[in-house]
Each structure stands twice: as structure tokens, then as C-alpha cells.
């Protein structure tokens, strides 16, 4: 018994065949215990086991380390060029408390707690017009970052979307100036010309797009709702340009609390009477699917286990005998060796004719022709022309010529 050895391969090699090739002797077992077999199986499977463990570790590490770095644009926690941490830090230093609700309901509740400013950054336009209007009215002051036309439809005050500013690659367009009564806008003076223009009761930083005039910062008559068409002025990258910082601080820092709300897909409300078909299924379906998965895995193990190792077949080498001829034919064809092929065909025909006409092996072509003319019905000159003088030069000529050669041979040898 070799239990305890660390190298099953060595055990296998050391084992002697239990029976002679012709039989006779009785074989019983493989000379090892069940435990040793299990151990050797595990030893053989260790690359797979190591691979599985490594995979498991990778999966676990990925799940654990997926802390979700804040890298969303215009997020108050993002310190990157696209983030808005600079504005948030300055506001916090000035005593403004920044709250970040995770859902629409939470945002609504926060706004109800006391005087607060809402900053709504919804680039994917998850919120509906009703939700947006409700939030806007619940807040003492609401700053909407580039809302969509659909979202504005229910908002009182007559806000409207005019259109995006044309792309300005050189950056040589003059930055728009306030040109309105709003104190924040006046304090800013000018801001970076980018984003979307809106129209409304008070239009600041006016821009004209295709004969329609609008502004990048539009507020209601009482200043309670403001639409910021250029939210990128809040980004860390551009906050120090022009009067961006002044406008940002003035519009966001008017209340002791700032509710910085970034809606997610979870805040989307279902529109209409559509029903999720999954809710129609009974409750046990999920459990059943899990159990069927288990059954499927069991079935795979059942069918996947072989009755012992595969038997190997030592195959002898066999080559198709006509392969060399086929290969030569392809060489002829690829190199367009029409003359060569024709010479072969003619030589073979002459040799066969010579044998049929009982001429010597060393007979020359004219001698064979003489004999063939004596034997068959055709004149010597005709035979000479068809057999010797006509020589094809192209593939197209070769085929009929070769067929004619064969016909001629049959004609002469059959007479």
C-alpha cells in the first residue's frame, strides 16, 4: 500500500501489470485504497483547483473593492476636472450645509424640513415634469441644471428651451455679459459661453441661436426658480474662468441648506397603465428556477462522467496513392504549363499506339505515324497534323485537343 506518498505518478509507474497479456492471472483492485485514490485525484486536479481558488479570490476582491469612487460629472464629491467639489467646499466653508439625497422621496422630505436651496442635476432626464415641478415648488429656491424641454413643460413661469449653443472650437466668441437685473448675474459680469440657452421671465447672459434669443441663466420673476443653461461653469475645470464662481456662489449659497440632488434611474416613474409581466408569475417560479438549475448541474455531472479513461487508437499512416498525380496536375494548372501537359498526353498516346501497332519501343514518331496510316483509314498527313503539328497554347484549346487525341487513339486501336 502506498498511501502517504506525495507523488501518485511515481506510484502508477511503479505498479506492475496485474495480469499477463494473454490473461490467466486474476486482477483485483488497483493495489491502492480508496483514500489514496481520492488523494491522487486531488493531486492531479490541483491546477484546476488552484485556478478556481484564484478566480474566487479575484471575484471576491472585485466585489469588495467596488466602493464606487465618486467620478460623476458635477458631483460635489468629485475632485476631478469634471467634478464640482471646489464649489461644494467653498460653500461648506461659508456655512452652507450640503445634503445629497439618494432618492426623489428623500429630496422631497429634505426640502420640506426647512428653508433650503435645491440644485437639481439631471443630465439623463430621469425625473418627469411633474416631479420636477413638485421639487421646484417645495424648495425656497431651485436651481435646475440644463433641464430637458419635456421636464420644463409643467413648470409655471413660462420657461422654455431655445437650443444648444453652437460649438465654438477656437473659443474666440466673447463671453456673454449679464444684461439683466438678477443680482448674482450682475455680480458675475461674464460667464463661459457654453451649454444650452433658455428663455424665461428674466433672461441673463443672452445668446441668439438661429434668430431666437435666449439666455444661459434664466430666472422666474421672483427669482425662486433659476434655470442654469451652462452647468459646466460649476465644474472644477472652469469654475475660476470669467465670473463663473460668482454666479455659482450667488445662485447656490442663498440658503443655509443646499440640497444637491442627482436623480438615478430608480426615480423614474412608470408612465401609463403598463404592468411588469414578471409580477404576474406566481411567487414560487424563482425558487423553482433555482432548483431546476441544481437539477441541470446534477444531470451534467451524471452524463459527463465517463466509464473509465478513453481507449486510444494508434492509427497507421495511409496516403492516397494518386495524390502525387493530383499534386502534379495542380502544379501544371497553377503554372499554366499547357505545352508540358500536351507533350505528356501526346507521348502517352504515341507509346500506346506503338504498342498496339506492334512497333519497337524505340520507334520514332514518324514511324508510328506511317504504321498508323497503313492500319487506319486516315492519311498520314492528316494524322501528322492532328497528332504532331497541332499544339494547344491555352487551356481553352487544350481540352478539345486532348479529347480529339483520345478519339483518334480509340479509332486507330479499334480497327
Amino acid at each position: 500500500m502506498t498511501t502517504g506518498s506525495r507523488h501518485p505518478a511515481a506510484q502508477v509507474a511503479a505498479r506492475t501489470p496485474a495480469a499477463g497479456p494473454r490473461g490467466g492471472g486474476e486482477v483485483m483492485g488497483d493495489g491502492r485504497s480508496a483514500l489514496a485514490t481520492v488523494r491522487s485525484r486531488l493531486w492531479r486536479a490541483r491546477p484546476l483547483l488552484v485556478g478556481a481558488v484564484v478566480l474566487l479570490i479575484i471575484v471576491v476582491l472585485t466585489l469588495l473593492s467596488g466602493t464606487g469612487d465618486d467620478d460623476a460629472p458635477l458631483s460635489p464629491g468629485n475632485a476631478g476636472p469634471e467634478g464640482a467639489r471646489a464649489v461644494a467646499e467653498v460653500l461648506a466653508a461659508q456655512g452652507v450645509e450640503i445634503r445629497r439625497p439618494a432618492s426623489y422621496e428623500e429630496a422631497d422630505a429634505l426640502l420640506g424640513e426647512g428653508p433650503a436651496t435645491l440644485f437639481l442635476n439631471d443630465p439623463q432626464q430621469y425625473l418627469s415634469a411633474t416631479q420636477l415641478t413638485e421639487l421646484g415648488t417645495a424648495a425656497d429656491r431651485a436651481v435646475l441644471a440644463a433641464p430637458g424641454e419635456r421636464q420644463l413643460s409643467a413648470l409655471p413661469g413660462g420657461f422654455d428651451l431655445v437650443g444648444p449653443l453652437p460649438f465654438d472650437p477656437g473659443g474666440d466668441a466673447p463671453p456673454p455679459s449679464a444684461q439683466c437685473e438678477d443680482s448674482g448675474a450682475v455680480a458675475a459680469g461674464t460667464i463661459t459661453a457654453t451649454g444650452t440657452a433658455y428663455s424665461g421671465p428674466v433672461t441673463c447672459f443672452p445668446e441668439t441661436i438661429e434668430d431666437l434669443s435666449g439666455g444661459l441663466y434664466v430666472t422666474s420673476a421672483d427669482g425662486a426658480v433659476a434655470v442654469l443653461g451652462a452647468p459646466t461653469i460649476l465644474a472644477n475645470r472652469s469654475i475660476t474662468d470669467e465670473g463663473n464662481a460668482a454666479l455659482a456662489l450667488a445662485s447656490l449659497g442663498s440658503s443655509p441648506t443646499l440640497v444637491w440632488f442627482e436623480p438615478t434611474a430608480a426615480d423614474v416613474v412608470a408612465v401609463g397603465e403598463g404592468i411588469d409581466p414578471l409580477t404576474l408569475l406566481p411567487g414560487w417560479v424563482d425558487v423553482l428556477l433555482v432548483w431546476l438549475l441544481v437539477c441541470g448541474i446534477l444531470a451534467m455531472i451524471w452524463r459527463g462522467r465517463r466509464m473509465g479513461p478513453l481507449a486510444t487508437e494508434p492509427l497507421p499512416v495511409l496516403v492516397h496513392a494518386a495524390e502525387t498525380a493530383e499534386g502534379r496536375a495542380r502544379l501544371y494548372q497553377d503554372s499554366d504549363a499547357v505545352a508540358h501537359a500536351a507533350a505528356n498526353l501526346r507521348a502517352a498516346t504515341l507509346v500506346r499506339l506503338a504498342r498496339h501497332l506492334r512497333l519497337d519501343r524505340s520507334a520514332t514518331a514518324p514511324e508510328i505515324l506511317d504504321a498508323a496510316a497503313r492500319q487506319g483509314g486516315r492519311s498520314r498527313s492528316e494524322l501528322a497534323e492532328r497528332l504532331l503539328e497541332n499544339t494547344p497554347t491555352t487551356n481553352r484549346e487544350l481540352v478539345p485537343w486532348a479529347q480529339e487525341l483520345l478519339d483518334l487513339e480509340k479509332e486507330i486501336t479499334s480497327t
Binding site: C295, W302, T324, Y332, L345
Partner: protein, 430 residues
């Protein structure tokens, strides 16, 4: 361990409690039930390590005939064994029922036969026997693979033996022929008989005629105890398949027919399988049945992927027979191989011996030659013509060197070679 279809069925039955009491608990409970039952079954299964196996195999079998590997299985365990036993024959052994089921009470033995119908000549092997012993519930089983090597020698079929009776009759007709047909050197005196009209007057034995009143002529019989050396080429050219048979197998058929015929004709036969060294060797002077030792020696022959070295054939032939012999070379008449190998070595053989070069002709070349329907087919025809011309040139060269050439399609080669032998024997050239 192995799980069975029954366990999977039982698992599928678990659908009922899972639907009746949805939740993780029913899944876990059912899984636990499965695990417990399977574990119990495994624990109660008889150990496959206690199954004694002994195998009986026939010494050899001719290709095309059925055979069987008989296993005697003895249960040495204290429990009843419900097992499936698989003998892992290589596929060309053509095992009809490699998996045998077995219900074996403790201490008893059973006999099981695995029927074999080999599809290939050669040494066929079985390496392992796998035993799968299921528990009483049939849910799980223990599996063990046991090393139990065995070999079955599959002999060449000798299909050409159907030509043997007719060739033997022709050989017998040579006996006692009068000198009318056969004259010249090398024939042996057989007997005297009365002159009949038409006998050659030169064969009249005047001395005997003087003793009797009638005219008496001598008759002759073909020589006996001549040596026939059959050399079978097993080099790379023998791997070529012509129709549905490798050239080597056709050569084996031809060699078998010729050897048996020559032995019955009273000659001594030596067989050599040769490429760069001797692969097999049989002498009729040795004890035992010539045909039996020939087929066993030929069974394991396989084409070797090396070039034949004909320069050593002369020495091998001399080692096999020190006398003037009929040397039959079963080889291929492929232009390159023959020009490099056989032609330079042939004179050293022909100066001492009568040499016959026998080769298989590929009938497919004739088909290719006649097909001139398209450009591709015409090029193939040209290539086939070139191959046939080369072959004819080689044949002519071999004949110039004083050797006979037998060139025939696979089915025709054995009888044609036998004819050549009879013709040479009749002509007294052996």
C-alpha cells in the same frame, strides 16, 4: 464516485415540494435528502476493489472473423455487487458490447463475453477494465479503473487463398510432363514411359528402349527444393492506399499466396519484411506450419515512414538462402524511390538470383487518364499519363537489368505473381 440518472430523477421530483412550499428551506431540505441518500447508497455499495477479474483471450484471430474476450468476474466482497464492467478495447477491435452489467451475490463468480469484430490487422490492445459498482438504491456508484493489459493478434485475412486450388492444379500439371513441352537445362529426371506419337524423338531413352521391346522416353518433372525468397518492402511507399487497401496489405496477400504455393510445390520459402532493417523473417525450414508462422509474423507489420535501403537486400537474401534463389521483391514502382533505391541495387541481385519485382498498379490513374472533360481534368489526365509513362520507363529499365516485372491492380496481383512463379518453374529457371 458516480451519480446515476435515478438521482437526477429524484432531484427533479424535488420540484413538487419546491412548488408546494416555496422558499430556501424546501430546496435545502431536498438537497440534504439527496445527499444523505446518495451517501448511504455509496456506503452500502460493494467495493469495486474486491472484484476479481480474469480474462481469457484467443491467441489470434483472422481479420473479418469474430472473436470474444471472456471475463470471469468474482465478487470477493461481503455484499452483493450490482456493477457495470467496461473493457476499454481500442476502437478498431470492434467491441460490440464493451459494457456488461453484472448482479453478483457475495462470493460468486460470473462469466461475461465481450464480442470483438476487429476491423484492422495488427496487434490490438486493451489496457484497462473499469468497474462501476452501484449501491442498493441505484442512486450513486463507486467507480474504479483497473489496469489489465491484454493483446489480440489480428492476422491478415489471406483472401487470396481462393486462388490456391487452381494454382496448385496448374503446379501439379507440371509434374510428369513429357519433354515435348519442357526441354533444356535445370529439369530433373522423373520416370520412363512408353513413347506415344508426338513425343520429341530426342527424349527417347535408347538404353531403356534396348532393354525392352517398346520405345521408351524419359519424362521430367520440375525441380524441387529450390529457394524462394519473398522480400516485402515496408518502407514509406507501402503506406500508399490503392483503392481501399494499403499497398502493404496487398503485398501481404501476394506473399502469402506465393509462399503457400511454393511450399506445396516442394520449394523452400524464406520471407523477409524489410525497409532499413528486417521487420519480420520466416523460413519454411523451421519447425511448425509455414502459413501459421507467416501470418503471425505479418500481423504486426505497419508501414514505416522511412526510405527503403535496397543496398542491404542482397546481404539479407544471402543470409536467408545461400543458394541461387528466386527473389521476389514486393515493392512500389514509384519513379523517384525506385531510381534512387532499387535500380542501383538490382544488378547485385540479378547476377546471383532470378529476380521478380512485383508491384501494385493504381487503377485510378487509368480513370484519371481518360477523363478530359474540363481543363482541370485534362491537366490531371496529363499528370496521370506522365506517371504511367514514368512507370513504364522504370519497368523497362528493370527488365533491362534482367529482372521480371509483375505489375497488376490490387485484386490481380496475388494470382499474377503466382502465375509468374509457375511459369518460371515450368521453364526450369529456378
Amino acid at each position: 464516485m458516480v451519480i446515476t440518472g435515478r438521482l437526477v430523477l429524484l432531484a427533479l421530483l424535488g420540484v413538487v415540494p419546491v412548488i408546494a412550499y416555496p422558499g430556501t428551506t424546501s430546496i435545502l431540505l431536498w438537497a440534504l435528502l439527496l445527499a444523505v441518500l446518495a451517501g448511504l447508497d455509496l456506503a452500502l455499495a460493494a467495493s469495486p476493489r474486491r472484484l476479481g477479474i480474469s480474462r481469457t483471450l484467443p491467441e489470434s484471430v483472422r481479420l473479418g472473423e469474430d472473436s470474444a474476450s471472456t471475463l470471469v468476474l468474482r465478487n470477493d466482497a461481503s455484499r452483493r455487487m450490482r456493477a457495470t464492467v467496461r473493457e476499454a478495447w481500442q476502437p478498431s477491435a470492434g467491441a460490440q458490447d464493451p459494457e456488461q452489467s453484472l448482479d453478483l451475490p457475495a462470493g460468486e463468480a460470473r462469466r461475461r463475453s465481450v464480442h470483438l469484430r476487429p476491423v484492422r490487422r495488427g496487434i490490438l490492445r486493451v489496457d484497462t477494465i473499469t468497474v462501476r459498482s452501484a449501491g442498493p438504491l441505484g442512486l450513486a456508484a463507486r467507480q474504479l479503473t483497473v489496469e489489465a493489459p491484454g493483446v489480440l493478434r489480428v492476422l491478415p485475412p489471406f483472401n487470396s487463398r481462393r486462388h490456391l486450388p487452381s494454382k496448385l492444379r496448374r503446379l501439379r500439371e507440371l509434374d510428369g510432363r513429357s519433354a515435348v513441352q519442357i526441354r533444356g537445362a535445370g529439369t530433373e529426371f522423373d520416370s520412363l514411359r512408353d513413347y506415344v506419337r508426338g513425343d520429341d524423338v530426342r527424349s527417347i531413352d535408347w538404353r531403356a528402349t534396348a532393354r525392352r521391346r517398346d520405345t521408351v522416353v524419359r519424362t521430367w518433372r520440375p525441380e524441387r527444393d529450390r529457394h524462394v525468397v519473398v522480400v516485402l518492402d515496408t518502407s514509406r511507399t507501402s503506406a500508399a492506399r490503392i483503392l481501399d487497401e494499403p499497398r502493404l496489405d496487398t503485398g501481404i496477400e501476394a506473399a502469402l499466396l506465393l509462399s503457400v504455393l511454393a511450399e506445396r510445390g516442394g520449394d523452400k520459402v524464406h520471407f523477409l519484411a524489410f525497409d532499413r532493417r528486417v521487420r519480420a523473417r520466416v523460413d519454411s525450414t523451421a519447425k511448425g506450419n509455414l502459413l501459421g508462422s507467416l501470418v503471425s509474423a505479418m500481423a504486426p507489420l505497419e508501414p514505416e515512414l522511412i526510405e527503403a535501403d535496397f543496398s542491404r537486400v542482397a546481404a539479407q537474401v544471402r543470409a536467408a538462402s545461400a543458394h541461387r534463389s528466386l527473389v521476389v521483391l514486393l515493392t512500389a514502382l514509384d519513379a523517384g524511390a525506385v531510381e534512387e533505391g532499387l535500380l542501383p541495387a538490382l544488378p547485385s541481385l540479378t547476377e546471383r538470383h532470378v529476380v521478380v519485382v512485383a508491384s501494385v498498379r493504381d487503377p485510378q490513374l487509368e480513370d484519371l487518364r481518360a477523363d478530359r472533360s474540363t481543363a482541370s481534368a485534362t491537366f490531371r489526365a496529363a499528370a496521370a499519363e506522365r506517371a504511367l509513362l514514368d512507370r513504364a520507363a522504370i519497368t523497362a529499365q528493370i527488365r533491362l537489368l534482367g529482372a521480371e516485372v509483375v505489375d497488376a491492380v490490387p485484386a490481380e496481383l496475388p494470382p499474377r505473381l503466382a502465375d509468374a512463379y509457375i511459369r518460371l518453374k515450368a521453364a526450369g529457371r529456378l
